[in-house]
Symmetry: C2
Subunit: 353 residues, 2 copies
């Protein structure tokens, strides 16, 4: 099979971790007889520096022509304490999501038995946790009208949703639930927000199309509590953009394996795969960052973008091996020897072969 | 001193827990020579049933005439799965906040050494946690314009803030920080929202008025993570209404003492004190609910509304005694004898005397 992949390393540790995923993907391709065609694209602070745009048109064309996008991270501390900077790396992220129509961000949270004690939560609370948060990614208050009034003294943002946007995301949620434990939780704030009432109504109307799925409706504040109390009680959660931003990050710490969590963003034109850890600038260029989340994102890519399940399974196997044999970076090494980012990548690629 | 207190028991377990707080307040008043004047007001589902309005004008007048309001809880399962019900108990809550000008919700999170092992988090993560979340309560997307367009197919909500609203809340936050560990965290989403940029700007401008306070600016998604990872690193957090709704609930589970957490809402016309646990309808009328959060809310009332610190300290002392001696309701009793709500109230009142 021909795999056309756009490669967007981005900022911070992005380039280093993406490089390891490339090694692993190439090794898998050789083993299974696929042909990978990587096309590099500039994004983030790196792209601002070179061409003044965090998501340049040339990068967009590369993504549109690809079957899947493998993405590192975006963000640079230079921009962090300057809310008024004219161009910010994050704008590239939002532009990319919108222009590629990446309407659904898929964030699994699961535990690795060998890492469970890294969690801030007690073992008995998180054992068995295996949930997916499906976050709407191209609507809501992220993309609504915003601005100032009264000479700058008043600021406003608008959250807007259409029934079709809700349906599109919810449909994916129902379908995922059907392939899993058949439980769907619609997270909203329908006791206050009109947009949430539209979400709840729309999902209620869809229940009859998926009679086997048990649907619950929970307020976002209650879910923020229950995710910490009993994460294992959830299966698939669907929610709007801003709630999803907050809840996916909250959920990412419960498993104790944040450095390993992959994600996918499913789009109209293509789909994108990225580690959830962000650009982590403190570690950039040191060859110490953990590449496993990116490697596992590549596994999601094989499965979700190309339907290649065996390839995905093999990647997950070698990642589990690296954990079992302690072939890991310093964040996971404890008192044992810590390997470099590049050493972990080389080892994984060698194991694949 | 004359203490004019409006008493709003509300729904669910509200009436039972409030009754115990009344006993304790009355005992404290006798001991210290104060005169309490309680005036009862209808709210919530109970008020809908009787007069068709969850916050009737008569109740509002009672609150306006009082020096402080002691509140139980609002909410009834009858309304929970019907987002389209014409009148909902929660509307009473929002109306009350707006009409009383309760612009700041103060939510402390602290640990009780004897309860720390109830937390879903590991002991070493939460020991020493003592933070306050200050949530803006009468602005933002809760009170902005909202509605439908396109024949109901599109829904929108508007988040609006003025600089004065931000300043008013932030000032309280800076002042609280000055009385504590002098650390303030402004929680926003300034990388996306214009209203958040107004928050950040306004707080940045205020820094020079409080040079001793160390201010940090963190994104709401990052705070949702860090609250679970290292809650003890925070002192005072300030944030807008919706972020505050989510984060206060998340924070309430970390101490392991959710049933004990009090809160205050500071207003223009008066201030209101309430337990954070809500109406908990499953336990209503059974004399099993834990009254300690309401009793501790009464302690906050003595201190914050009346400036009576000794009275507040005495209430906290007897609460600690009840925990130490196991005079507690079933939620805290473990394998020991569980006392009734009313028995705990009687015991606390007797200890005070
Ligand atoms: C950087 C920021 C704009 C972005 C978001 O809020 O969507 C990030 O937090 C994320 O979740 O990917
Ligand atoms: C009941 C609801 C409207 C309310 C809110 O969102 O403010 C509640 O969750 C709270 O935090 O007091």
């Amino acid at each position: 099979m021909k795999l056309n992949i756009a490669l967007l390393p981005g900022d911070g540790i992005g380039p280093e971790v993406v490089e390891q995923a490339v090694k692993v993907v190439d090794a898998v391709a050789v083993k299974f007889g696929h042909q990978v065609n990587w096309t590099f694209g500039l994004t983030g602070a790196a792209a601002i520096d070179e061409v003044g745009d965090p998501y340049p048109e040339s990068t967009h064309e590369i993504c549109m022509a690809a079957d899947a996008v493998l993405f590192g991270a975006i963000g640079h501390p230079r921009y962090d304490n300057d809310p008024k900077a004219p161009v910010r790396p994050e704008q590239g992220l939002l532009k990319m999501r919108k222009k590629l129509g990446l309407f659904a961000n898929v964030r699994p949270t699961f535990t690795f038995p060998s890492l469970i004690d890294n969690s801030p939560l007690k073992r008995e609370r998180i054992e068995g946790t295996d949930l997916i948060i499906l976050r709407e990614l191209t609507g809501g208050i992220y993309f609504g009208e915003r601005g100032r009034k009264d000479g700058g003294e008043t600021a406003f943002d608008t959250c807007t949703y259409t029934r079709d946007e809700v349906r599109r995301l919810a449909k994916l949620g129902f379908e995922m639930a059907m392939n899993r434990r058949k439980k769907l939780c619609c997270v909203d704030k329908a006791n206050v927000l009109e947009s949430s009432r539209l979400w709840r109504e729309t999902v209620q109307d869809m229940e009859r199309e998926f009679p086997e799925v048990t649907v619950s409706y929970e307020f976002v504040d209650a879910v923020a509590m229950r995710l910490v109390q009993w994460p294992s009680s959830y299966d698939v959660l669907i929610t709007e953009n801003l709630f999803g931003d907050i809840l996916t990050d909250e959920a990412s710490v419960i498993s104790g394996s944040m450095g390993l969590m992959p994600s996918a963003s499913i789009g109209i034109h293509t789909s994108l795969f990225e580690p959830i850890h962000g650009s982590y600038p403190q570690a950039a260029g040191k060859d110490i960052a953990n590449p496993l989340a990116t490697v596992l994102s590549a596994a999601m890519m094989f499965e979700d973008a190309f339907g290649l399940k065996k390839e995905a399974a093999l990647i997950r196997d070698v990642v589990n091996q690296s954990l079992a044999e302690g072939l890991v970076t310093e964040d996971l090494a404890g008192n044992n020897k810590a390997y470099k980012t590049s050493e972990v990548g080389d080892w994984l690629a060698a194991q694949v072969s």
